[in-house]
Every structure is written in C-alpha cells, then in structure tokens.
C-alpha cells in the first residue's frame, strides 16, 4: 500500500496523477478461507481490518453482493455520539467514538471525522428528565456530556427557535466530542487497510446459501461459486433475516425502511449536529452546505430500500417549527436504507445456534457511529472464538434470558 501524504500528492501532481494505485485489490475468490465475512459495510470491513491488524489473521474474505459501502453505511446521516444510557452501550459506543478520533491517521485515509458536537434537544418534560438521567449515567461511565439550558442551546445553535408553541426547547444534552464523519470514506479506509494486510474483498459476490454438516458451518454458496470456510461471520444489517434463514435459524430482528434527505446547499449556518428525538428529526450541515436531515423509521417490514413519503413530510413539518429558516429550502435528494431493528434497540454481536457461525447485526438506525468499536469487538470474538468484554453483553441469548440492554426507553431512537 502506497502511503498518501503531501509528498505523494505533489509527486502525482507533477506526473498527471498517473501513478496512483488502486485503493484495494479485487481478487478472485479462493477455494477456502479461515474466516468469511458476509457483507462489506462498515462493520464487516472494520471486522476484517482489526482481524488482520490486531490478531494477524489474514486468510479472510469479505463477500459483498453489491459494491462495498453501498448498504446502510453509504446511506446514513453520519451522526457519531456515545451518550447512551446503559453501561454496556456506553462502553462499546465510546470505544468506537474514541477510535474515530484517530482513525484518519491510523488508516492513512481522511475519513473527515468532525467532532463538532451533538446537541440532543429536550422538548417535553419527560424528555428533559430522561436526558438528565442519561447525563448522570454518562458521567458515571466517564463519557463527557452536560445538560445545558435553553439559552445555551440558542447560543450554540443560533438558527433554532426555542419558544415554539408545540415543542419548546426545555434544555439539551450536549456531547461536545460527538459529531460526524464521511460515511463512504470510513468504508473505503477500512477496505484499503484490510486489503493491504492481505484480506480478500470480493464485490459482486452474493451469498446464496450456507453449507453446514453435523459439526457446524463448512462454507457458503455464492454467485461466484462455492467457497469453504472454518468460521463465518454474518454482517449484513437489513438482510440479516435472509442470511439467518439460509443458516436455519431465526433472529429477534425485523427489517424496516429508514429515510434521509438533503436540502439544496446554503452558506454555513449550523456547526453542530442537532437531534430532536420527540419529533424524530435530526439535522446537520454537510461541508457542501446541504442540510442533512434524518427522520423516523417506517413501521412495517420492507426490503425495498425506499420508504413512505409521509415520513419525510412528518419529519420536515416538525423540524420547520424548531428551525423556521429551513422552510425556505428545497429538497435536493432523498433515499432509504433497510435497517435491522431489535426489540431492545441494541445490537447483536455473538455466536449463533450453528457452530462456527457468528453474527453482528441489529444496529438498526444507529450503527454508523459504532463501526470502529463493533469491528474491533467482533474481530476479537472471531479470533478467540468467544466474545470479549465489550461484545459479551450483546449476545443473542439475552433475548432468551430476558437480559435486555434497553435503549428504546432511553431515546426511543438511535441514530
């Protein structure tokens, strides 16, 4: 892997950019790998990267049915925060946020991490109390957040209307080290790093079946032929139910559409992320100037990567009350992704009922922020054969044992 630097940029500028090498290789699949990861989204690629880097395991393939980063990783609104209520969540999301801070340097790839601050608004008395509780929980977990007054919210976010008739701003939970990153770059950076360490990333290769014998998994059937493996890790977000069906088990997961939209670009007007959970609206401004807006998920099972228009309408209608200036903006694009929702709104990282098959899923509407921590913890689990301390609480059997990690009461939404 040739390092990107100011010198390589200058050298290439002098020779008409003819010497850049491909960021990652596109090998043909081998007949067998030690570990196969299904799904080249952020979580699958980060898992492959940390397997190679932290554990020296490189006889690994990442199989992707489309193009890498084309799933939810390339469709999200890129909010990064770690101000979760439950200690298990705080641990893994804060691990991820911490890794994000140094990720551009580590990957030698600019992922444009921007710790611009995340403001979670409190717009009902109930929400104010819930956020106060979260602020205390964050303090106990060593996560830097603070409750701020409506006036302080207005100072940080001048375009906000704090005296709205229906949803006045009663306060905010401010995480100054939260922010955003460039979603594609996170996938590309991990892919480049994994590929340089010997991992085979195979795109346009859909898994169509899972082979197993009495002792466990033996390989997969793909659109590019059968491939044998000793361990298999399923990391396919919205398609988790389909892959689980191939392997012969069910998951406590349902796939629904979640949408986002961007406005036409305008001059800089908001330099942090604002989340209005009561009305299901999330907004930040991209470097291009577009207002990036996320909404709530649809309520019914869906695999079409497009959602119901009235949800966008609802989101925008509610946000206009809090941000009157956006009423003048035109919508430029909107899109959807299929998110994998669990009953307690927490992810699943762990073993499955089939020996040798591991799963990482259930990130739902909020897994972009978790990519580095989740990849790190999943790699540890694959290397050792059992989950480490970060991943262990998120095992599948928590649904049998009633050991929920309830984040749905905490925010009702993830993002």
């Amino acid at each position: 892997m040739k390092k990107y630097s100011v010198f390589s940029l200058a050298r290439e500028a002098l020779r008409y950019h003819s010497g850049w090498e491909r960021a990652w290789a596109s090998p043909d699949p081998k007949a067998e790998y030690d570990t196969i990861i299904v799904g080249a989204g952020g979580h699958g690629l980060a898992t492959a990267y940390y397997l190679a880097k932290e554990h020296g395991i490189t006889n690994v393939a990442v199989l992707e049915k489309g193009w890498l980063g084309g799933g939810n990783t390339g469709r999200n609104t890129t909010i990064i925060r770690s101000n979760y209520l439950q200690p298990e969540s705080a641990a893994i999301y804060e691990k991820a946020r911490g890794l994000y801070e140094g990720l551009s340097q580590e990957l030698n790839f600019n992922i444009m991490f921007s710790p611009r601050g995340v403001m979670m608004l409190c717009q009902t008395q109930h929400e104010l109390r819930a956020m106060q509780r979260t602020a205390h929980a964050n303090r106990l977990a060593g996560i830097e957040t603070e409750m701020v007054s409506p006036e302080r919210v207005k100072e940080i976010v001048p375009i906000i209307e704090i005296d709205g008739p229906r949803f006045p701003v009663l306060g905010g939970l401010w995480q100054p080290r939260g922010g955003t990153a460039r979603h594609d770059a996170v996938a590309w950076g991990y892919a480049r790093g994994a590929s340089a360490r010997g991992v085979d990333i195979i795109q346009q290769c859909a898994v169509t079946g899972i082979d197993r014998d009495a002792s466990g998994v033996t390989g997969v059937q793909t659109t590019r032929g059968p491939i044998r493996c000793k361990k298999l890790c399923i990391v396919v977000a919205g398609s988790s139910g389909v892959l689980a069906d191939m392997a012969g088990f069910r998951l406590p997961v349902e796939s629904v559409a979640l949408q986002a939209l961007v406005s036409e670009p305008v001059k800089p007007c908001m330099d942090c992320v604002v989340m209005a959970n009561t009305v299901h609206g999330y907004m930040s401004q991209s470097d291009k100037g577009e207002m990036v807006i996320g909404g709530g998920a649809d309520g019914f099972n869906n695999y079409t990567q497009r959602g119901s228009f009235q949800h966008l309408e609802e989101t925008v209608r509610a946000l206009i009350e809090t941000f009157p200036m956006i009423s003048r903006l035109k919508m430029l694009r909107h899109w959807g992704g299929i998110v994998d929702m669990t009953g307690d709104r927490s992810p699943i990282i762990g073993q499955t009922p089939v020996p040798g098959i591991f799963i990482n899923c259930g990130w739902g509407t909020g897994g972009f922020k978790a990519i580095p921590g989740s990849g790190w913890a999943t790699a540890e689990m694959l290397a050792k054969g059992t989950p480490g301390t970060l991943a262990a609480p998120f095992s599948l059997d928590r649904f049998t044992e009633g050991r929920m990690i309830d984040e749905s009461v905490a925010a009702a939404v993830a993002h």
Binding site: G241, R250, F300, N302, T304, Q310, F399
Partner: protein, 107 residues
C-alpha cells in the same frame, strides 16, 4: 403509499390511516412456557424477504384489527382478511400461489 382494503368496513385505507402491528399468526406463549418459547413469542421473527403475513389496524377508520398478506420485496399486496383466524384463509393462499408459484408456506 401503501393502500390496504379494510376487510371490515371495505374502505381502501391509506397508510396514514393504518397502524402496523407486526408479524401475524404468532403462537402466544404465556405463563408456564419455557424461556425459548417466550422469546419466540416476544422477539423472534421470520422477517422474510418476500411473502409476509401481518397485522394491521384501521386506526383512523373503523378502528378494527385485521390481517394482510404482502410482499416485502415488491410491496405488492396479495389481500387482506379477518382478524378472527389463526392462519391465512384459502383464497389468500390461492392469490399468493398464483403470483408466487415457487413460494412455500414456511414451517
């Protein structure tokens, strides 16, 4: 926008008039069941890419619960039927088989 005909009042209800109720025909395990059965009832879902049986409520209409058979891959609706049954009626099964000849009812 998704449109489902309410089998009770016969209205073609738009999605905004309906409340989704998740997978249909679950076995309701209660007191006395073991942990795995209770998990299956509360959390475990088929979540298929394709034919899906589900519960809906005509929330801003007659207010009644009913069932729908739908395709989660194409958003096609095969039909709606009464809530008073524990499996899809024959005419719904026929409608599905006509349009999805390879489909089999999962175990």
């Amino acid at each position: 926008m998704l449109i489902l005909r309410c089998p009770y009042c016969g209205v073609d209800a738009e999605e905004t008039d309906l409340a989704p109720g998740g997978e249909a025909h679950l076995t309701r395990h209660g007191p006395g069941s073991d942990d795995a059965e209770f998990r299956d009832y509360l959390f475990q879902r088929r979540n298929p890419r394709g034919v899906h049986f589900e519960r809906w409520r005509h929330a801003f209409g007659c207010g009644k619960w009913f069932h729908a058979a739908r395709c989660t891959q194409t958003l096609e609706v095969f039909g709606t039927y009464s809530a008073q049954c524990s499996e899809p009626p024959e005419e719904i099964m026929t409608a599905i088989r006509t349009r999805r000849p390879d489909w089999e009812m999962p175990a």
